[in-house]
């Protein structure tokens, strides 16, 4: 393959990576497209889904496709922030030693960091992660470590409630998207996953994805070029503002929630950062669709994964979040017109 030069040239390898990921994880084309958008929008992604659905495999495959080094840690209730930075040990001669932890081990070559079951970690760990995600740096050993190409992927366990710590709103807001994965619906996909031997060994499966298909060091400049090149018209800006207003004051748009009295269910709508990330993701979506301008459909395609996890509900309704928020998102999209 010739080396891509223009923005349009980069679309082919991006779609090729998507095609490879679709071969690794069957029946999840929408989640894979969203993850690809998050990568090219340089946004961190939170994956959510039942156990055994392929979240980890998908993230490992994406990390391989992007190249660079990949860090990983499992969230546990006794995990401390320092466990991400370093770990201590006694060597064979009984001499104590300190090695960089999974976050620091690869330095600036770290392209992806996968935090498995993030909601099992304590808030102290979330706090450290917030800084890494927001500033792409961390202080350790009396110096600053920078991760200019880092993307953080995390998944959270929604099944168990014991010994888990719900991500605070500030931490959720750092994630560009929360991508939901559901079981494959196609019978053929299910049969393939169950019967084809290639799905038995995930490490071997992931090796089918060409390593470094997209140069992770080029992603920052490429993402900036996408944001500069894809046009967002005045009317589209008004549409995005209307969507933002609807998340804060749904009653102004005639939106009522079925199981919530009035509009009191919402304590806080989408943040300005969230709306900025929404437009970034919409631009990437338009670019992947080979368009030069953002359409309302681009915004709609990423509205739920970018905005849903940012809405803060009244604690009374938080227990029904999984039903209320999708309904609210759907009603907002059906209430705001453009043009």
């Amino acid at each position: 393959m010739t080396k891509p030069h223009t923005l349009a040239d980069w679309r082919a390898p991006a779609l090729l990576l998507e095609a490879h990921l679709n071969q690794v994880i069957l029946g999840q084309p929408q989640a894979i497209r969203l993850l690809l958008i998050a990568v090219f929008a340089r946004g961190h992604a939170l994956l959510e889904g039942n156990v055994g659905i392929g979240k980890t495999t998908l993230l490992r495959a994406m990390a391989r496709g992007l190249g660079g080094e990949c860090g990983r840690i499992e969230g546990t209730v006794d995990l401390m922030p320092t466990d991400l930075v370093y770990h201590t040990y006694l060597d064979a001669s009984g001499k104590p030693g300190v090695d960089p932890g999974p976050l620091l081990r690869h330095g600036e070559q770290l392209s992806t960091f996968f935090f498995n079951e993030i909601n099992r970690a304590r808030p102290q760990v979330h706090s450290l992660l917030l800084r890494v995600m927001a500033e792409q740096s961390v202080s350790a050993f009396n110096r600053e470590f920078y991760f200019p190409h880092l993307l953080v992927f995390a998944d959270r366990n929604r099944v168990e409630k014991e010994e888990t710590f719900e991500l605070p709103a500030a931490a959720r807001d750092r994630f560009t998207m929360e991508i939901a994965l559901d079981y494959p619906r196609d019978s053929g996909d299910l049969q393939a996953v169950m019967f084809e031997p290639r799905f038995h060994d995930t490490s071997e499966l992931i090796r089918a994805v060409p390593e470094g298909l997209i140069d992770f060091k080029r992603l920052n400049s490429l993402a900036a070029e996408v944001q500069e090149s894809i046009h967002a018209s005045e009317r589209l800006r008004l549409y995005a503002v209307d969507l933002w207003r609807a998340t804060h004051h749904p009653g102004d748009f005639g939106i009522q929630l079925r199981d919530a009295e009035g509009i009191g269910a919402i304590q806080a709508g989408a943040s300005p950062r969230g709306m900025s990330l929404l437009v970034r993701a919409a631009r990437v979506h338009a670019w992947l669709q080979a368009r030069e301008a953002v359409l309302p459909e681009d915004v709609q395609a990423v509205f739920h994964p970018v905005i849903a996890h940012r809405l803060v509900l009244d604690p009374v309704y938080e227990f029904h979040r999984s039903e209320l928020v999708p309904e609210l998102i759907c009603k907002i999209l059906n209430a705001v017109a453009a043009p």
Partner: protein, 297 residues
């Protein structure tokens, strides 16, 4: 009791039957007892020679005869065998202070024999009229004796009421139908959204559409689609829209062309300008098609 008075008008004897004037027999009611406002029927009968016929144009025309007398009608009736009867109805407005003899003047009609017109005089007729009140009202009379004139009764409309009611109902039904089809009724606005857009576009397209008015034109068509769909309609929702409104599937290419043009106008890098392949007149064509579907819905 009516006492007909017969008056025979004797005219000079003619030289021949064709040229001699036929005698006229006046058939009149009583010649007395009339008061102001009474009608006086006055008939005249005559026999014309064979081959002769009266001239209708020479009959007296209804209207004012004198300052006190008015001819209400004049009708000539054939009685057979050359006999004719001319029935005139006069109405007198004379207000005598005492009993007075008045004269309805002679009139002349005409008849034609063998292409030659001949006059036929109808003789005058005298009658007497009497006052309806004394000259001076005495002290013994109260105010009720002098009554104001009875106001004229309006003409009866009874026979017109039936047809009038029927036509009025038809007119109201037509008006309501027209208003419904054009979306003038408040409740029909949602269903007739494209009728309003059609009217607006037809008026606006008399001048070239550009700038903010062009954007408004597109926006109005979008709003009509949204009203029809019940929620905002986007290009990607076209399958759902057509499945909900199957009759609109026939014009789906036109709708999709509109959305493509609209997205270029609103969201494209050259936003604000109508695409070259989609002049504003196509908006009116689309509105016409949509209005037809809307009416059938």
């Amino acid at each position: 009791m009516r006492t007909p008075a017969l008056v025979l008008a004797l005219l000079p004897l003619p030289v021949s039957a064709a040229t001699e004037t036929p005698p006229v027999l006046i058939d009149a009611p009583r010649p007395f007892g009339y008061v102001i406002g009474d009608r006086v029927p006055l008939a005249a009968e005559f026999v014309l020679p064979a081959g002769c016929e009266p001239l209708p144009a020479a009959l007296p025309q209804p209207g004012r005869v004198d300052y006190w007398l008015e001819l209400r009608s004049a009708v000539l009736q054939p009685l057979g065998s050359g006999r004719f009867r001319l029935e005139r109805v006069y109405q007198t407005f004379f207000a005598p202070l005492e009993v007075k003899t008045l004269t309805i003047r002679a009139v002349s009609i005409a008849y034609r024999c063998q292409g030659v017109s001949q006059p036929l005089p109808i003789p005058a007729w005298n009658f007497t009229m009497a006052p309806i009140r004394p000259v001076a009202v005495g002290k013994g009379h109260d105010d009720s004796y002098m009554r104001p004139d009875r106001p004229p009764e309006p003409p009866s409309l009874a026979r017109h009421l039936g047809p009038l009611s029927g036509w009025s109902l038809i007119a109201v039904a037509c008006g309501l139908t027209l208003a419904w089809l054009n979306g003038w009724l408040p409740r029909s606005r949602r269903r007739q959204a494209f009728a309003a857009v059609f009217r607006w576009l037809r008026a606006e397209l008399r001048q070239p559409l550009a700038g903010p008015r062009l954007l408004e034109a597109y926006a109005r068509v979008h709003q009509a689609f949204n009203a029809t769909y019940g929620k905002p309609l986007f290009a990607t929702k076209m399958d759902d829209f057509v499945s909900a409104h199957p009759s609109w599937g026939q014009i789906r290419p036109q709708i999709e062309a509109f959305f493509q043009a609209s997205y270029a106008v609103h969201f494209g890098s050259d936003a604000g300008r109508s695409p070259a392949d989609y002049p504003p007149e196509r908006l009116l064509e689309l509105a016409t098609l949509c209005r037809q579907r809307e009416r059938r819905a």
